[in-house]
């Protein structure tokens, strides 16, 4: 009896429990799957709770650190982390289903359903907090660029230096046999040959030679390309340019006659004619072809008069010009050389610029940019041409006719210049006179002694009177002459 009684009670208890469960499952489809094991309840419950009302859980997921979950439920699920939910999954306690137990649990499935309503913005970790250098690829690029620039600077500088040294080594003997002083930077007390080039820049080298018949001195300037500047290197890839050697020989006044003459490539001559003061004034015609003298077509001639051209173009000169035409940019002989035209803001300068008898040579180094030290040997014959030209300039003299023409030309140029500047010069003279008067007056005023003052004033008055009289005399004379 008792056994039967206890068995009934147990059955009842079980029944009530299972009934409760079945209540939940009434609406469910998965009743068949209900399994009488510990986890079965949880499994089904998990699926069930997905479809349950999601309004109970509100999750705000702004950042990973904190997921605030607002629940009606107990404190045990305050954090609502997924980890907590996970641990709950592994809970081996077979407790009866309790809403509150699974509230944290519901976060995960609930939030996935609430995705449709509140899109989760997954924010990237800020790049600088990432431990990867890849995000700084632009900076790395910049630094690489800078390193490339520095490398190019060093390489370019060294190359220019080697080219300069190669040039000097090739030409040293010739120069030393012709000039006493080879290499001077102007700083030493004594005039002794330094025997080396002056480095003005990373791409410009100077050499001053002096102490020879006929000329005061010769300044050689090696104008290399800016190999040390990467931008320039890149620009040159588009448009090839050559290194240049510029030689300027300053002649003694007695050793050169008066003429202006130039020969060179057509392009160079057109440019020089525009830029150079003397060429623009004395050689007004367009560059003429030198075919008459046997020059190649690439070269043209600018000359003050035909006689000069005839005199200059002797066999040896023609030989030089023909054989080395590709290396010659321009050759310019002038007794009126004053450099390029000066542009002044106030109009014309008040005085004609100083002129010097000069021979100028511009040579292109072969290679068109891709030069090697051994190319410098190709320039040695050109230096011979320079020396020959110096001697020739001394020997060449214009005949009487030529001299007259030359003098006329120079007078004409001077007159033109004076006419242009007449007004300015008048104004300048006027202002100078006014200055003088003012200075006088100042002096008189500052004189403390009244006697002296009076005397100075009288002297000034007398001077003024004299000037007026002189002017009147002049006017009278002009009138008489006119009559």
């Amino acid at each position: 009896m008792k056994v039967l009684h206890t068995f009934c009670i147990v059955l009842l208890v079980f029944g009530s429990v299972s009934e409760a469960k079945f209540d939940d499952f009434e609406d469910e489809e998965d009743i068949v799957e209900y399994d009488d094991n510990d986890f079965a309840e949880f499994e089904d419950v998990m699926e069930d709770s997905v479809t349950e009302s999601p309004q109970r859980v509100i999750t705000t997921e702004d950042d990973e650190d904190e997921t605030t979950v607002e629940l009606e439920g107990p404190d045990e699920n305050q954090e609502g982390d997924f980890e907590d939910v996970d641990t709950q999954e592994g809970d081996t306690e077979s407790e009866p289903y309790d809403d509150e137990e699974f509230e944290g649990y519901e976060d995960k499935p609930d939030t996935s359903s609430s995705k449709n309503k509140d899109p989760i913005t997954i924010v990237d970790v800020p790049a600088h907090l990432q431990n990867s250098w890849e995000s700084y690829y632009l900076e790395i690029l910049m630094v690489t660029g800078l390193l490339a620039y520095i490398m190019n600077y060093i390489i370019g500088k060294n190359k220019n230096s080697r080219l300069a040294q190669a040039w000097f080594n090739t030409h040293r003997e010739l120069l030393e046999s012709n000039f006493t002083l080879v290499g001077d930077d102007g700083t030493n007390k004594e005039a002794s040959s330094t025997g080396k080039l002056n480095q003005e820049n990373e791409h410009i080298y100077n050499l001053w030679c002096s102490g020879r018949v006929c000329c005061e001195g010769m300044l050689i300037q090696l104008r290399f390309l800016k190999r040390q500047d990467l931008l320039n290197v890149l620009a040159r890839m588009m448009r090839p340019v050559s290194d240049q050697v510029q030689i300027k020989v300053t002649m003694n006044d007695e050793d050169m006659d008066t003429y202006v003459f130039a020969v060179g490539t057509r392009k160079a001559l057109v440019r020089l004619q525009k830029e150079m003061q003397d060429l623009s004034e004395f050689c007004s015609d367009k560059p003429k072809s030198g075919a008459k003298y046997g020059l190649p077509d690439s070269l043209a001639i600018l000359s003050e008069m035909g006689e000069v051209t005839d005199g200059m173009m002797d066999t040896k000169m023609v030989h030089f010009l023909t054989h080395y035409a590709d290396k010659i940019e321009s050759v310019h002989f002038s007794d009126q050389f004053s450099g390029p035209k000066i542009m002044q803001e106030e109009g014309q300068p008040l005085k004609l610029p100083d002129t010097k008898r000069t021979l100028l040579f511009t040579f292109n180094v072969p290679g068109s940019g891709n030069t090697y030290p051994k190319d410098m040997e190709a320039l040695l014959p050109l230096m011979n041409m320079v020396i020959y030209s110096i001697d020739k300039a001394k020997k060449f003299r214009l005949n009487r006719e030529g001299k007259q023409k030359a003098d006329k030309n120079r007078a004409r140029v001077e007159e033109n210049f004076l006419k242009l500047t007449h007004v300015q010069r008048q104004e300048a003279a006027q202002s100078r006179r006014e200055e003088k008067k003012r200075a006088e007056k100042e002096r008189i005023m500052n004189e403390e002694d009244p006697e002296k003052q009076r005397r100075l004033e009288e002297a000034a008055l007398r001077r003024e009177q004299k000037k007026l009289e002189k002017k009147q005399m002049k006017m009278k004379q002009i009138k008489v002459k006119a009559m």
């Binding site: 800078l146 046999s177 002096s210 001195g217 011979n384």
Partner: protein
């Protein structure tokens, strides 16, 4: 080669000392690159500092390098150094204020 093998063309008594050509603004006329680059470098570094633009600061560094490479011998090294320091400081300040890497405009 001398024109006359008998006599030496050299004249030790006619030696003239080298006089550096008077530079009355000629250097600036010949090649204004270093001056322009210097100015650009300063402008870019000020922009980079004030407007907190990283690319400005980097361009300023490049400008000061280019200005240095193209500089003439008569150029003041103090000027070069100051523009260089300014551009480096612009870069450093931009990164201190905002350590994020540069974003390309594309």
């Amino acid at each position: 080669m001398s024109t006359n093998n008998m006599s030496d063309p050299r004249r030790p008594n006619k030696v003239l000392r080298y006089k550096p050509p008077p530079s009355e603004g000629n250097p600036a006329l010949d090649d204004p690159t270093p001056d322009y680059m210097n100015l650009l470098g300063m402008i870019f570094s000020m922009c980079g500092l004030m407007l907190k633009l990283k690319w400005c600061a980097w361009v300023a560094v490049y400008c000061s390098f280019i200005s240095f490479a193209n500089s003439r011998s008569s150029e003041d090294t103090k000027q070069m150094m100051s523009s260089f320091m300014l551009s480096i400081s612009a870069v450093v300040m931009s990164y201190l204020q905002n350590p994020q890497p540069m974003t390309p405009p594309w």
